[in-house]
Amino acid sequence: MKFIQNGAFRLYLLSVFIYFAWVLTQSEFTLESVKILFPLFFSFVIIFFYKKYLEKFNKVFAYFLFFSVSLTSLFGITNVMDGSYALSTNPILYGLAFYSAFFAFHIYKKSLDRKFIWIASNPILLITGPIAFSFKGITYIKIKKRVSYYFPFFLIGIVFFKVIATPLTPFFELINSTNVIEVLVFGIIFELFVYFNFCGLSLIVYSIFGILGLKIPLNFKQPFSSRNMIDYWRGWHRSLSHVLKILFYLPARKKYSINVALFIVFLSSALWHGVSANFFLWGAFHAFCFIFSVKLLKKDFKLFSLFLMVPAIIVGRIIFSETDLDRLILKLSFSINSPIEIINLFKNIPTLSFLSLLLGILWVSLEFFLKDLRFFKERSYKFLRIPSLQICLMILFVLFAGSQTGIEYAVYSQR
């Protein structure tokens, strides 16, 4: 039983134990409660069929796996991943997007090992969303050193998720507005929410895995320290970007021009998020912005690429979040005719939500404006890991951790 000695398996057992300890104390036992076990079953099935019959057709199988979640989304079996709160439509297929992308990556690279099953189906990863396409044991580093290095990431993650992202959800009522001002305000707030939610959870997972002896890639690297869209995507959801690069960009680049390759990458990413008109539009929009940024940078128009980045991120997020096509068209017409409700709406927003918004804007501004300073240069949240800032984060956590403002959910884990 070689796999018992492997760190990934121990981590899997520990994660399942924590999950069930939590579930048993929270609610009654249902199919929803055991949803995290289905990925393990499907992972076994995938490995079995791959090793037994499909090893020769690894590329076809990899693409089939990657787009399996697009098929389930097309037939309404799973939800699209638009960042809104939704319970899993189908507990049996819980986490499909993540473990299928994980296996697609390794099958394509012919690097699949049986022990990967414990990473692919790890509940902590599936609930939070990062794809741990690479991992290595670091148990040779003493636990004290690991805690000392990884704990600050945990603190940053929990403050991002709990104190900044979650209280922003009361602002989501703005999604119904079609007035240009409200549409843009919603776009900005929703971008902040997705960043602090997903980045926060990714940092928590990164630190837990690190403390327990498994190093996985950092999923976010201060994306707002960027000066153009290319740089932005280098820091945003890096695990998915890497999978897309291996599965789509590199093969497409061998046959087609860079522009075509980029369109293929972004449209594949769109399909992975769900089969919906807004995602096609989102993919095409970002592909266009990316290509345009490349052209601007080639001509050394750095300032123009910066001016393109800011609206591209906001408009991209507006498209991403709106699955109602008619309303999306209204929003993208940037009309000033519809009534402005923002002042009335803001009257009902809790004070903590405004405080979280301020904190979010402050952090993003620091990321952006101080990007060349010592603690920001590495783009690994070093600034927040300095002792005095860690104390501030801890104070924020202790004071606000129990706040009931907002809806708590993992933005990338509701399939």
Partner: protein, 299 residues
Amino acid sequence: MKIYKNIILLLLFTIYIIYLFIEEPIPDEDDPYNFSEYQLLQIDRHKQGIRSISQRGAKLSGIILGGSNAMAGLSARMMSDNKHNEIFYNYSLAGSKKKINIYLDSLRETSLLVDKEAVKVVIFSDLMFFQDNKSVNFERLEQPKFRLKIFPSTSLLKFLRYKFIPVDPLFPRDIEFGDLDWTGSYSDVCRPPESFNMTPNNILDIKQRHLMIRNSIKEIFPNSKIYFMVPSISNNSSDLLLKYSNDIKILYKESNLLLILNPPRTEKDIFCYSGFYLNQKGRSLVTDEIIEIISPEFN
């Protein structure tokens, strides 16, 4: 610096763990057994208001009960002004619909401050005639036996504020009659109304609730006539609601429960941000109608 950082972090973490164990949840609107801090403050203000009636040597003749719809939609001052020798008081309490038992207990306690025999009319405006489409039946949700707590149920900052800083009422009320003060913060949150989108509640459950309430009020104010009022709602001519209104009328007549039920309102400018909260104009209009209905009790 590192050692100090670790000590401070450890200290803060210890505070957090201790707080996890000692914290008591702050009662909110969904807690049927405890008033929230705002409600406690309002009850206290009501007691002051009612005490001052006796201190003036006057007698309380009528009382308005209910939740936020009664607070926004009925005026005890108008009723008192109309019936020159009679005093009405608006004892409504926002967010009280799920706290009926403790609400009636507070009324029982407050009633000791006045001549209970003198109260002739009680109007109970109850939004429980309807249910929110989005509402969850909390009573049917089983509470877990024990909870694995990682986060407290209330933030430490809120808890400290609750313990040490007194609150102001959410919506200021007229101390003399208990009415909502329209010059206060309520008018700030009043925005264009939405359509009424609540659905009928279980009529038999509501009747049982009102029989219980009637018995309790009869014990408190033995000479009173108790009217149950269906809150005024904006125009909604759905067959379901029309049938529901008819069913209520029939059932309440059979059960000898006095009912105030007006058809959905056609006026467009009398509601405030929902299809059932009246604005100042709506309050005057509906209160006038109520005065007509209760007038025989004072002749």
